[in-house]
Amino acid sequence: MKIEIIDEKFDPWQSLVDYKRDELQNNPKIGASSVFLGTMRDFNEGDEVESMELEHYPGMTEKYLTDIVNNAIKKYKIIDGLVMHRVGHLNPTDPIVIVATWSEHRDNAFNATRAIMESLKVEAPFWKKEDTGKGFRWVKPAASQETTESTNEI
């Protein structure tokens, strides 16, 4: 497993190839690899976005990413998983997150990568602040992600 928080621009495919070369290249039990890459768009909620700051909670973020991938390994019987996530200053087209899973059969890898992304979106402590050119704003989560046991209005 690989979990990494990265504070400068990275090449997600190269990172994937490097990891695969080291850990997985010669594993003939792998029949399926599913990869998701999230990249920064130059628009959000109808506005142009010039750049973005991505903040995280060191320690807790890594812990949750590790738990999320371990849960996917168990639930979907995948062979291995990887999550790499940017923090810091990002520009449009910059990679934000790459998630990869490896399994014997395609169903498991597809489902695991999707599940990791969905869990990451609601559990992993990252926060985005956008510069729209007219000022900064904190990104709001999608409506479906707004409630958890520990969310409270004050």
Binding site: Y57, I96, E123, P125, K129, W138, N152, E153, I154
Partner: protein, 81 residues
């Protein structure tokens, strides 16, 4: 009045902006829940901000009881990925 405990508090993102600081260490009465602590800290603030609670890097519900030495974090719903 119970025993005094030390708490390490962190604020992130829009919660940090509202609090005007990113962390503080406080000594406070025992028998406090995480929501009780939040109410104490925001007594003079008006806000409808949604806030999430984490203690020692784990999400907890509002009734979670704090103990001496805990690291408590307050932050808005997460927006990674």
């Amino acid at each position: 009045m119970g025993k005094v405990m030390k708490l390490y508090i962190k604020y992130f993102a829009s919660v940090r902006d509202m609090m005007g600081k990113d962390s503080e260490v406080i000594d406070i009465d025992t028998n406090l829940t995480v929501f009780g602590l939040w109410e104490t800290l925001t007594l003079n603030l008006k806000s409808d901000m949604k806030v999430m609670f984490a203690v020692n890097h784990e999400y907890v519900g509002k009734d979670f009881k704090l103990k001496h030495g805990d690291e408590i974090a307050f932050f808005p719903p997460v927006t990674g990925g």
